[in-house]
Amino acid sequence: MKKVTRMKRKGLLILFLFFSMTTLSGCWSKKELTDIAFVIGVGLDKTEDGKYLVSFQVVSPGNVAGAVQQGGGGGYGLPVTVFKVRGDNLVEASRQGARMVSRQLYFAHTNLLVIGEDLAREGLHEIFDALERNSQFRTTTSVIVAHNARAENILTLLTPLDKIPANKVIKTLETAEHVWGENIDVKVGDIIQDLVSSGKEPVISGFKLIGDAENGKRKEHLETTDPDVRLTADGLAVFRDGKLIGWLIGKDARAATTILKKIKSTVINIDWKGKKESIVYKVTREHTKVKAIIKNGRPEISINIDIEGDIGETKVPVDFSDPNEIMKLQKRLEKEFENEIEHSVNKVQELKSDIFGFGEALHRTAPQLWKKKYQNHWNDTWFPELEVNVQVSAFIRRTGLRYNPYFWDKDQGGD
């Protein structure tokens, strides 16, 4: 009997302790949704006096489409606001932000990091540590470089369709990567990896601002079917030693993404029957193989590319039911694409920055030699002189819903 009461008392004590544990610790690290400011995009610029200018694009949840009207009439406001803070470093800037924002800045949903071109040219090395070290910030955040623009201007622009500008940028990147292939959606983690790798340099997609940035801040510019301020994906920024040294635009950019195996689908135009850009070939499947070999003490790179796709359009009469014709077309496509790739490789070799990861390929084939011989002078001496052999094999899988174009009959036999 006595034992039972003692046990009971012990149980009560434990219960009491457990209860006080729950109540005294008091909701550690609890934050209500209404007390945090969702930073959806971060912009980094350099000021004249060498400080950082950090722009935080913060969502105003009540104004994002899809949210219900709250009692008390929230009105129709802007989906985001941008806070700009100066600071010697990123952490300081983000803390200083507290003076301007009524809520705690919350970085777990930051999807976009915009780097101003000025800052990019000065170097990225020091900024990524703060991002990687922060527990909220994700290394899966997409990164873009503002082409000929400041990051703050890109973040302050209001966009149509996607109400949240940062989302618009990310979705543009994704669709552009998917259907056009000139851009890559690069994440913070990828860049850090490329920065530390000696055999590969980072590339980051660029975004260009068309029109006056001041006008883009206001809602009025969206109240037209053709906004005069626009944001478009534009080229790839080439880095060397963490510094921006040049841009790849258009076909060069597409060739670069092809070598990087990031391309999903694209469109190749070829000249046919003397008419320029007359047949359009839609690439639906692509496979790239980059291999390094050492020949006579000199490294060589061979790139094998398999493309497969459909005919999207023709402006000249072609007999697509004729296998020989198809074969000829395929040969032509291969030539066209080989030229494109070679042009891009030459251009990058001029920039002396191995964004393709040829160094890494060489490292894989000859690890010892790489460390001894090539590693230290790769970008300066070896990469620009590199012999690159491009081999493309194209295959036309389908010709769309029909074989011959509707204007084929008229010119039948008139080859």
Partner: protein
């Protein structure tokens, strides 16, 4: 413990002991356990005194025989007896002229009436007042004869009963439509009709000192574990209480553990469920006056097994079983997960969703936890009111409830639409669980988990769920581990847990419940298309011994 408390406790105990003693002496006075007297008048006098001249007890005098006449009294309780039987089989034959009328004498009257006059099946002789009143109160008819120190008791139980109807709980689309009624005899008959086997044993006793309620244990000899049957009997015999008004009384007095939110005894309104459980080796406990029959031992997984699982094809049954386990978890953790995700782990919610939720919460003045608590409590109030509401007012409640919980609360800015969705999902989930008793435990634990979520986020929820699982594993139902056959894991029985294997694959009964006679069906039960060579499907196999 402080001293004053001890003193107080001692005092209370003394008072209680005194009361108990008084009670017992009172009982003895009520029903004298003495033999009957000689004279009819004295006996009737005693009966009238004991019953307080209750108006529903009918006394009928008859003079039987011509020379000499014998005074006979018929006593029965109005409403409990079958009038037709009494009129046709007793009074008629007593009054009509038969040859026995001439032979009657006070000495032979008793034997004559018992053997020749009464045309009722169940006839007993009663010697003591205690037995007499018990018979009288359970609807039997008493025949008292002048000069006899004993009485005849006739089984004329009858009166108005509810007819067999479809059960109001545990409905199923496919399967028998009959449900238990309040009459224990009807109920046991319904099970016996399903199991036509002499090994279906029924053991009846009376529990409740005042109510004298009929309680019956039913099991299949040879399949049921003898130890469990003994244990059930022991626990029933131990019960010493004034009244048993529902099987819930017995459930609470015989369960293994009181301080647990989980039921360790199953209850059902369906005779097919009882039959199936008896065949698995369980013991059923019938209580007179309630359609709910207890089944012991009960396992955790049993509360997720709906009857339809066994009547439907196995693939559908398996899918539904999965769904039910999911439902249980939803009803358990949905609000807790919502609270912890929105107040601690915002990074876990997809960006657009978190913004949408934040937008909804923008004008809500309460923290998510308070918001959830308000909605959950509101719903519980609605549910509680809905159960007990007179039908006529039900409509009004549902309209008001829908407005309060749905539209108005959002428009008033008290709760966010997302919260309403969570509460609704939880509410629907908790009603979709096949056994309501486990849904109620989920309901209790849900609030606990909500507190933990508000304090610690997912960490707290996980701790809470872990404690719950540990507790579940520690439970026993009549000595059988509650989580069997999952923990301890019994491979041969695990086919009927979170999935249900085809019926032809149910080779064994639950091992821990029916320990001796485990084999359930013969070999080669798997059906298939006709084979040219002809498979001997009726191979001897080991057939059921029972």
């Amino acid at each position: 413990m402080p001293l004053w408390w001890k003193k107080h406790e001692k005092k209370m105990k003394e008072i209680q002991d005194k009361q108990n003693r008084n009670d017992q002496s009172g009982m003895a006075k009520c029903v004298p356990d003495e033999p009957l007297q000689d004279k009819l008048e004295d006996n009737l006098q005693t009966m009238k005194e004991t019953t307080g001249k209750s108006s529903d007890i009918v006394y009928r005098f008859i003079k039987a025989g011509q020379n000499p006449e014998v005074s006979v009294a018929i006593v029965y309780t109005e409403g409990l007896v079958d009038h037709q039987t009494i009129n046709e089989c007793l009074i008629e034959s007593l009054l009509n002229n038969h040859d026995w009328q001439t032979q009657i004498s006070p000495q032979k009257a008793f034997a004559l009436i018992e053997r020749k006059v009464v045309s009722v099946g169940d006839v007993k002789t009663v010697n003591h007042w205690g037995d007499l009143f018990l018979s009288l109160m359970s609807g039997e008819t008493i025949i008292l004869i002048d000069g006899m120190r004993k009485a005849i008791s006739l089984g004329t139980k009858g009166g108005d009963k509810r007819s067999i109807q479809e059960p109001s709980t545990q409905l199923s689309l496919r399967g028998p439509r009959d449900g238990f009624t309040e009459s224990i005899r009807t109920n046991t008959a319904m099970v016996r009709r399903r199991i036509k086997n002499p090994n279906l044993w029924l053991d009846t006793m009376k529990i409740g000192k005042v109510t004298q309620t009929d309680v019956a244990i039913m099991y299949i000899k040879g399949i049921a574990n003898e130890e469990i049957v003994q244990e059930v009997r022991k626990r029933l015999n131990r019960i010493n209480i004034d009244s048993i008004l529902e099987s819930g009384y017995i459930e609470q007095l015989m369960e293994d553990q009181t301080f647990t939110p989980f039921p360790t005894i199953y209850h059902t309104e369906r005779p097919d469920v009882v039959a199936a459980n008896l065949l698995e080796g369980r013991v059923a406990i019938f209580v007179d006056g309630t359609p709910f029959v207890l089944i012991a031992p009960a396992l955790f997984i049993q509360f997720f097994q709906a009857v339809e699982d066994y009547y439907a094809r196995f693939d559908i049954a398996t899918a539904l079983r999965f769904l039910r386990v999911l439902i249980f978890f939803i009803s358990l953790v949905a609000p807790a997960v919502y609270i912890s995700a929105t107040t601690f782990h915002q990074e876990m919610i997809p960006t657009l969703l978190v913004i949408a939720i934040a937008a909804q919460r923008e004008a809500v003045p309460f923290p998510a936890f308070v918001e959830a608590l308000i909605m959950e409590v509101t719903f519980e109030i609605l549910r509680e009111a809905g159960i007990r509401l007179p039908r006529a007012v039900g409509q009004a409640l549902s309209v008001v409830g829908a407005i309060v919980i749905g539209q108005a609360a959002i428009q008033a800015g008290i709760v966010s639409p997302a919260m309403v969705i969570i509460v609704s999902i939880t509410a629907i989930a908790s009603l979709a669980t096949p056994a309501l008793s486990i849904a109620i435990s989920a309901r209790l634990i849900r609030f606990l988990l909500m507190f933990l979520a508000a304090g610690f986020g997912f960490y707290g929820v996980i701790i809470g769920v872990m404690i719950m699982i540990i507790h579940l594993c520690s439970l026993r139902s009549f000595g059988v581990p509650y989580m069997a056959p999952l923990a301890p894991f019994i491979p041969s029985n695990s086919g009927d847990t979170i999935f249900r294997i085809p019926t032809w694959a149910f080779k064994e009964r639950p091992r821990l419940i029916s320990q001796k006679n485990i084999v359930r069906q013969g070999k080669h039960q798997r059906p298939g298309p006709p084979d040219k060579e002809g498979i001997d499907t009726n191979e001897k196999g080991d057939k059921n011994e029972t």
